[in-house]
């Protein structure tokens, strides 16, 4: 059997020079493209013609997906080097091959697939549950009291230790008015929310009346904008409708057209800064004087409104995870992720998502969670993490560390054990001894251990 295997990507096949040198180094060897089927185990050296841009994690992903012992995997930055003059390439390739030796250095990353199950907290709408169930992702119902601990890419639900891949928060939505209304203005009873106004439309006679619509830029849904555009029909009934908004929302299919049609029907759209709007009741208390300033030219605007309709401003309130992610002091307040690279509906905590407000977006949300659960993830290995809240300060770790990497630090009020990264050799002796289970060597928690290799005799 050959000792060495040369793997290449279809886009960058090995040159004859590369093969020749490889043969000189190893004698008999196998060459296969990445993705070809067949057993790849048993080679002492698996050389991959890859890229210099590959990270440790990419290598881990590759070794796991091909089921190659990561210790025997070597990556040569072929993609960058192949275009160099042959003499230079030859030198680099030869040097690389000469230096190949069975690796003893540790692999610092491992690929894990999250457990395919979701936990909704505090509860989930039935429609959403249906989507998940029918999409083949089991939904775990939480016990009345539980806590979550991160284990690898999963969460473990304590005390039972049942693992879940994704944790979905159902936020509550706080509604406020886009402009502060004072009591006097409110007492005219001419201020209505869009949905209330919509419901009372049939009973209102709007001929010759002025309707001013205030739209907040935060937390609206596209359904609500459709309702705003639909108000243009009132213009045909003899009313005048003015929409005061910071921005007209047209970023949805067909909205551009609806906007155009609404304007054609006589609806007025004015871009204003909502903060500058002033509402005062008229002396007869039957109307409201609305003054604002146009954003584009600063021109003062003034309307006498018979009805003042507003689209509520919504802010999302994520449920507090205090007590649930209690063992993770830093992490128990997730926020909506503002990183453009992260998945939609995700929070600052990996694996923690929030349910969107619009039911229309539920399928899209489901797709995001499924995508997350089906994508293997590289997790960092061998970093010592001390859970300060579990730590009983018993000093066992400190006294047993062969490298004297642990020390007592913290403040006078609360001492804590600190790891000196430069000294830590990641041996895990302290994790094995810690009586409070406060020290984790990432990747080596008992329930995270996965076999690196599996040999089956029956095969």
């Amino acid at each position: 059997m050959e000792q060495a295997l040369l793997l290449y990507r279809e886009a960058f096949p090995p040159s004859s020079l590369a093969l020749e040198e490889f043969g000189k180094r190893f004698g008999r060897f196998a060459v296969r493209p990445i993705g070809a089927s067949g057993d790849l185990s048993g080679f002492s050296f698996v050389v991959v013609l890859g890229s210099a841009l590959w990270t440790e994690e990419d290598r881990a992903v590759l070794s796991a997906s091909l089921r190659i012992n990561p210790l025997s995997l070597f990556v040569f930055p072929y993609e960058e080097v192949t275009s160099l003059p042959p003499a230079v390439f030859h030198m680099l390739w030869q040097g690389f091959l000469a230096r190949l030796a069975p690796s003893s250095s540790a692999v610092r990353a491992r690929v894990l697939l999250p457990t395919k199950s979701v936990l909704f907290y505090p509860s989930a709408e039935p429609e959403l549950l249906d989507i998940f169930e029918s999409g083949g992702i089991p939904v775990v119902s939480p016990p009345s009291s539980f806590s979550l601990t991160r284990q690898g890419v999963d969460f473990a639900m304590m005390p039972e230790g049942k693992r879940i891949g994704a944790f979905v928060l159902s936020p509550s939505w706080k509604e406020t008015t886009p402009v502060a209304f004072d009591d006097e203005t409110l007492s005219t009873r001419r201020i209505l929310s869009l949905s209330d106004f919509w419901q009372s439309l049939p009973s209102l006679s709007l001929w010759g009346k002025n309707v001013v619509v205030l739209v907040s830029p935060w937390g609206f849904s596209s359904e609500e904008w459709e309702m705003v555009f639909a108000l243009s029909s009132l213009c045909q009934e003899g009313a005048s409708v003015v929409v005061l908004a910071e921005e007209v929302f047209v970023a949805e299919d067909g909205f551009e057209e609806q906007y155009r049609q609404a304007r054609e029907k006589g609806m007025l759209f004015e871009r204003v800064s909502l903060g500058e709007i002033v509402l005062r009741p008229t002396l007869d208390m039957r109307r409201i004087q609305v003054t604002a300033r146009a954003t584009k030219d600063g021109f003062p605007l003034s309307f006498s409104a018979d009805w003042c309709v507003y689209l509520p401003e919504r802010s999302m309130v994520l449920p507090s995870l205090e007590g649930i992610l209690a063992s993770d002091r830093v992490l128990f307040r997730p926020r909506v992720s503002e990183n453009p690279n992260s998945l939609p509906f995700s929070t600052t905590l990996p694996g923690v998502f929030f349910v969107p407000f619009e039911k229309k977006k539920f399928p899209a949300f489901f797709a995001v969670v499924r995508e997350y659960l089906e994508r293997p993830q590289a997790v960092e290995l061998q970093r010592l993490v001390i859970d300060e809240e579990k730590c009983a300060l018993c000093l066992t770790c400190l006294r047993s560390c062969p490298w004297e990497a642990l020390s007592i630090g913290g403040t006078l009020k609360r001492r804590r054990v600190e790891v000196e990264e430069e000294r830590c050799h990641h041996c895990g002796i302290c994790t094995g001894l810690c009586p409070a289970r406060a020290i984790t060597l990432l990747g080596y928690e008992t329930n995270e251990l996965r076999p690196v290799l599996v040999w089956s005799e029956s095969k």
């Binding site: 016990p143 009345s144 009291s145 005390p159 039972e160 230790g161 579990k390 009983a392 300060l393 018993c394 000093l395 066992t396 006294r399 047993s400 001894l433 810690c434 009586p435 409070a436 289970r437």
Partner: protein, 216 residues
């Protein structure tokens, strides 16, 4: 801190007998620090019981001697048929008091109040006699550390600074002598210590402390 030792596993198996669902409940205070009843130990016992065919789960509360903390384990306790407590004798009793219907078994033998001297080595330092007199002995307590609680000097068995009862232990009186010599207070050892008043100790009857000023 209170030091304990896990009971032999056979003894534990004998008391668990026919119950299937077992909760192994550790304590996050003293017995965690003395490596006998913390989360690690609770997990160890639970994993072993699982291998033996039990349905064991494990947990740990901050301090098993306080009701407020033990209540956090209520759900797990009610799920179980039997609770094996890895806390000291105080914790076991609090647990049993709070959940009178659930059989609670001690999984730990509470041994003494002592200090860790190095990893894996603890030594008794105090027997809670109710009247501290260490200042008369250079800070070494003869009541706890002398096998015979001698207050007036070493017995005849002290040899090479070791105790006659357990030759691997230090003779408390050798320590006292050395310490007092170092402090230049040897003459104080010539005072005859009167018989100790044992009434504030355990021998007086079960003890109770009341702080009227903080009671609400």
């Amino acid at each position: 801190m209170i030091v304990g030792e896990r009971k032999p596993i056979q003894e534990i198996l004998a008391v668990l007998a026919s119950s299937r669902r077992v909760l192994v409940l550790g304590c996050g205070a003293c017995v965690t620090v003395c490596l006998s009843g913390g989360e690690r130990e609770a997990h160890e016992v639970a994993a072993l019981l699982n291998l033996r065919g039990y349905e064991a789960e494990y947990g740990v509360v901050e301090r098993q001697c306080e009701k407020e903390f033990v209540m956090h384990a209520r759900e797990a306790v009610t799920r179980a048929e039997t609770v094996l407590s890895l806390a000291c004798g105080v914790g076991v009793q609090t647990l049993a008091e709070l959940f009178p219907r659930v059989p609670v078994f001690p999984g730990l033998d509470t041994t003494f109040m002592g200090a860790p001297l190095e990893v894996g080595l603890w030594e008794e330092r105090c027997i809670g006699c109710g009247e501290c007199i260490v200042h008369r002995f250079g800070g070494v307590c003869p009541v706890a550390r002398c096998a015979k609680s001698l207050l007036n000097g070493p017995c005849g068995g002290s040899k090479n600074g070791r105790c006659e009862v357990r030759p691997e232990r230090d003779c408390a009186w050798q320590l006292i002598y050395d310490r007092m010599k170092f402090l230049g207070r040897l003459e104080e050892l010539l005072d005859i210590q009167p018989p100790k008043d044992w009434s504030p100790s355990r021998y007086g009857a079960q003890r109770k402390t009341i702080r009227e000023d903080v009671r609400v």
